[in-house]
Chain length 147, copies 12
Amino acid sequence: MNGPNLNLLGKRQPEIYGDQMLADVEADCRSVALEFGVDIRFHQSNREYELIDWIHEARESGAAILINAGAFTHTSIAILDALNTFDGPVMEVHISNVYKREAFRHHSYISQRADGVIAGMGVQGYQLALRRAIALLQDGSIDVRVG
Amino acid sequence: MNGPNLNLLGKRQPEIYGDQMLADVEADCRSVALEFGVDIRFHQSNREYELIDWIHEARESGAAILINAGAFTHTSIAILDALNTFDGPVMEVHISNVYKREAFRHHSYISQRADGVIAGMGVQGYQLALRRAIALLQDGSIDVRVG
Amino acid sequence: MNGPNLNLLGKRQPEIYGDQMLADVEADCRSVALEFGVDIRFHQSNREYELIDWIHEARESGAAILINAGAFTHTSIAILDALNTFDGPVMEVHISNVYKREAFRHHSYISQRADGVIAGMGVQGYQLALRRAIALLQDGSIDVRVG
Amino acid sequence: MNGPNLNLLGKRQPEIYGDQMLADVEADCRSVALEFGVDIRFHQSNREYELIDWIHEARESGAAILINAGAFTHTSIAILDALNTFDGPVMEVHISNVYKREAFRHHSYISQRADGVIAGMGVQGYQLALRRAIALLQDGSIDVRVG
Amino acid sequence: MNGPNLNLLGKRQPEIYGDQMLADVEADCRSVALEFGVDIRFHQSNREYELIDWIHEARESGAAILINAGAFTHTSIAILDALNTFDGPVMEVHISNVYKREAFRHHSYISQRADGVIAGMGVQGYQLALRRAIALLQDGSIDVRVG
Amino acid sequence: MNGPNLNLLGKRQPEIYGDQMLADVEADCRSVALEFGVDIRFHQSNREYELIDWIHEARESGAAILINAGAFTHTSIAILDALNTFDGPVMEVHISNVYKREAFRHHSYISQRADGVIAGMGVQGYQLALRRAIALLQDGSIDVRVG
Amino acid sequence: MNGPNLNLLGKRQPEIYGDQMLADVEADCRSVALEFGVDIRFHQSNREYELIDWIHEARESGAAILINAGAFTHTSIAILDALNTFDGPVMEVHISNVYKREAFRHHSYISQRADGVIAGMGVQGYQLALRRAIALLQDGSIDVRVG
Amino acid sequence: MNGPNLNLLGKRQPEIYGDQMLADVEADCRSVALEFGVDIRFHQSNREYELIDWIHEARESGAAILINAGAFTHTSIAILDALNTFDGPVMEVHISNVYKREAFRHHSYISQRADGVIAGMGVQGYQLALRRAIALLQDGSIDVRVG
Amino acid sequence: MNGPNLNLLGKRQPEIYGDQMLADVEADCRSVALEFGVDIRFHQSNREYELIDWIHEARESGAAILINAGAFTHTSIAILDALNTFDGPVMEVHISNVYKREAFRHHSYISQRADGVIAGMGVQGYQLALRRAIALLQDGSIDVRVG
Amino acid sequence: MNGPNLNLLGKRQPEIYGDQMLADVEADCRSVALEFGVDIRFHQSNREYELIDWIHEARESGAAILINAGAFTHTSIAILDALNTFDGPVMEVHISNVYKREAFRHHSYISQRADGVIAGMGVQGYQLALRRAIALLQDGSIDVRVG
Amino acid sequence: MNGPNLNLLGKRQPEIYGDQMLADVEADCRSVALEFGVDIRFHQSNREYELIDWIHEARESGAAILINAGAFTHTSIAILDALNTFDGPVMEVHISNVYKREAFRHHSYISQRADGVIAGMGVQGYQLALRRAIALLQDGSIDVRVG
Amino acid sequence: MNGPNLNLLGKRQPEIYGDQMLADVEADCRSVALEFGVDIRFHQSNREYELIDWIHEARESGAAILINAGAFTHTSIAILDALNTFDGPVMEVHISNVYKREAFRHHSYISQRADGVIAGMGVQGYQLALRRAIALLQDGSIDVRVG
């Protein structure tokens, strides 16, 4: 799951976010998913409620969640509350190292629920987080829901 | 590089740190290193100055640094200053999700220098961080110094 | 009016929120409304803007507002501003005692506008708040808008 | 149980506290108690130690406690500690919406123990809190101690 | 661009916001636009994501942005991030002098990106900010996107 | 009225303050004043007491005040107190967007009295603020005192 | 009215409080009262509730209150609330200059209600405060209640 | 001297305070007193003023004070002020390790006067503190006042 | 000594400062001075340096200082440092009760040096402070410098 | 276990630490150990890592730990983490009453793990803490590791 | 350049500032200047604006600035802004070690611009700072402006 | 004495620390020592305990201490405590102006003991501090211990 402004990935501020597009990220994730034989769903939205709705859906149909909530990371207790209703592994991903940037990006509500956090690993962070989620689920045949 | 108390990994507080030993972690890292054909050095110390000295050595002989500085993460400006003298990639690893634990574990001096941060991915976090470091160096034939 | 994640009431974290569904809450409210002969409308949304729009509508057609804004309670100045445009009684309801939970749940923007606040009374809190709203309006024949 | 200055209820600052007297509040509570067939004791004191002593007595003879500790709400850890020795339901009542008033009234030590909190519902808040206490005790025949 | 609750302009709290309607504001802006021969688009929404989407659109078709994000000013990092993807002048407008009001209105995420800020100039603030945006673009013939 | 160091306008730090001189600013203001037929007085001083004295004089002979108090904005309660003795419109002007600069420039004592605030609009901000002051006085024939 | 530990005046810490006894203070006050022909009552207690009760009594029989609440000054919201129910002049007296002592003595709840405050004037402060109270009541023939 | 709620010792929250009664504590203290041939007085009160009065009495008749002020430890400047009038050794005792509990229990006004502090040593802490007080007084024949 | 804006006393904000002029204050002080046979000098300035210079002069020719530094009270360490070079009694006077006003008026640098502080006693505060200064100097024949 | 600078005990700042040497402290401890028939090891080091190593050793061979970590008390999370790996009783000792000294000495990381804390009891504190440790272990025949 | 109260150097508080007069300081500086063949100007003023004016003059005629702004160090953003307009070396001097004194003396606006800072070196600090300024200018023949 | 990472002086971050090596610094100090006929010892270590041990040695054999503790400046209370055991002059040196850098470098534990502080004077700062230490010792023939 990808939060606000990530639809512009690769187009905006490449000095911070690099020049890969979100489609490239999805392709990367799908190649890891293929390697382990799991199924993923890939979303992006600028709408907080869509992220919440997708998390609610994942309660039914997903085994794990990878989430880069963008700016909502720092402001949305509603997304945290939604994640608190989910039982499987939750991986939090940030493309840039948020701990080096403005002070308001140092705090994450999502980290209070996340099992693991990756920041500053660029778009490769998605692949690494996916590897972790699959390892936690242990058996690659189950349905891994990536975002 | 591993900081204080990590020599007890697998023996202390397994509900937080799991039951793998530091030797297992080293073996994991070496298997990734083998896969990519890079050379690693693996250290642990309870002594802040040894971590500083190893970082200074890495200026000469290392291409990248993976560091889990344990409790020094939150208190050692001296290690941050040492890392600031190093030019290659720096990956910060924490076994547990430090952002969920006591407030004094939420701040990391090392994050101010690290290129990437992984927390809460268990001992698998070392492998993932190593993959990222190798990717940044792009060419697996160069000498990657892990810790 | 009910905010984000309340659609899962009774399904998520029953140790915090109990096991009654939102439909049960609506039924409870309707029984009190029936007792006093007032009309209520009952809403839930994960979308901040819908809560705002409903408050705007209540300016025209509602006599009082009962609101459990969930996580938006602590983050949404926009909902506070909307409530500030409403002239009738505003009752703020929380199912759990938010003052006992994480520090970020202790502050409510809505409390700055609310006439009354109920927390930790479980789903019964809605009924009690409705009784108060009706008492304030004094005359049961007027249209009470509950959320 | 009612804390300091509440003996002046109805006489002081009616724009904040309304014009009902404490005797009216007691009558209100007794009518609810009658409706549910429970027994209540009603107290007021300007003495912190009397509130503590009454809570200690309630350990023996009371099933639930309703408390409006007035100014002690914000300053008395001793009352909190006393309430922590009590096993039944504790309902915290404030006549005015304390969250709208001076900053020092926003924090309540009692909320850290209370099962439920009502603020800003005027003297009606006592009745509503009593309904909740009775509901928690489930069986109206047991002795409900109101303050 | 106008944020939440501004659709009620002129109807709510006239002692703070005056009695001009949003349509009057648009007319004012259009008269300035006409004077300088520029084209403007005028929007209002209670939805955070629409403001984000419009900013994304302005990356393609707009030369400057005037934004009164209402309550989102103080809470939305997502809008700040969207504005950070835009290259032209950004003017921040507030009808009231927010620095005189509640403390939570003193901080603006948008000010961290805005080139200029106007507060407390009433609805005339829009016209003044538009004059500034046009001056920055220097040549009135280019397309100025006002919100 | 212009505060300390503004005598160097156009000579110091042009990357912050631009390259227009204070005389240019005065000329700009006079052209707007001419357009509306009002009279202005234009001052600059590095002396806090002269700003105070001029504000006292304006009580007798001025209809409105435009003030860019420079560094005194952030430190002088004495100027705020002086402005509090003045009845007409007060416009606060900053050439740079002070909210983007050092934290100690984010707070303004003057904003607590000012009717309107303009920041980051460069020297054009004076003209815009003057337009607003004249609009507030409504009738261009009265004596507008600019600083 | 005198708060806790003031019964030891003249016996404890004379370097802070001087060597006059409380009886001397009373005599001083009575001599001023005699000069102006007013009646005073003089109390001291280590009990917070007695101070509250005396304030309640003063609502009936007192025209003004002089209060040195000692340590309760800094901790008792209950006394502040009691004073808020009193309509006449309230004078706050401290023998030492509390603003020079420990930080926890710099804040006074009583100052939020007091008309006037005197600190560091030694026991003479009582006389001076009494003169002020009498001046406010304007007519020396009315009953002035000093503590 | 023992503060509020300590009369319930052994009856309330044994997981924090253990299961020894206050009478057991007194017996323990008396056995140490007997060993050293000193005389002790043992008190408990829920009343802040009684603690103050006993400290005042100890000025006359006591050689040392042992005090467990319970919740008053964290809130009572009046008790601190009373202790400041006492010249002999003051020992502060807490049964539980207050530094591990809620943040509001970490600060003690009494520690600003106490010669020694013991926390978390259970009821044995009284005995240990008594040994220290006796050692400070050096000569066991003098009258040691324990609370 | 009187600080900035006090030259407008009686003309500005009479709801805060009353309607007596500074000349009336001087007359009041002179009448007390006459009663005790002391000599006073009375100053007012909006200039911080004049206050400093007068304090320096008082080192030579004054026995005591009465100072109402107005807004400089809260911001001028330079005046505090000047007062620290003076050996005689220093009385701090505020016409209004500054502890009830904006938070930035609660802190006084001057209080760190002042022997006594009077606030909220209106212009009568000058007379009362003068009585205290004379009492401290004990012998009315010496030269008392009042500001 | 004794931390940095304690090797100078009795030589440095006797007004704070008294004039007994560390060897005297060891002798005191050994006499208590002898009384109860337990075995102790006594260490001092200025090296943080030696304290950590000794704690690790105590995991194998010690039954309880007495620790006066000196300045490391306030700065070393690494020592806290080491203590967290130890299962037996931990007693924290400070010779002086650290809560009366500089603010940075009020916080102890070690207190978050310690079972008991003694401060300000001079070198006698070691003996008292040892008594407590032995009591907790209940059976004096087991090996008590003192530092 | 020397700020407020430094005209009293050697006369006030010699325990803090020593007993050398400002004329001695000037003589010291001149002897160093003579040694290196540079020209200095030496000023002192209690007036903030004179310090600002002298800095402005130094823009024309000075190569370096030594400044001891006294109390203005901690309060004057105007002096910082003036220094920001100067291109040459700026040396900040304090006679006493300000970091050991009151907390409000720990922060210096001037340090944000100064190249070097000397504190607690007594009046010798001026000489040392002058040596540094000359070293930075490298060539002793240029005009060094000392304050 | 030189703290961690200073062994890399001249090699690391020359934009902050310049390009002189630590050996150059030692040579500079020795030339000043020679000029005044004093003896110095010059150390560097990355080990906190070695700095502590050297300070302990200096108690026996040194007359003054010059210390640049690097990062330990901001974190080591143990070094402060060691310095507190030393009686002679202590000079604190920083090569860069630490007050301009990250906030965590603004606070120095060492400044609480140091007689003088020099920052931002580059490696010349050592020479200047040495001159001051010698001046304080007054007689060049005594043994000056430089770090």
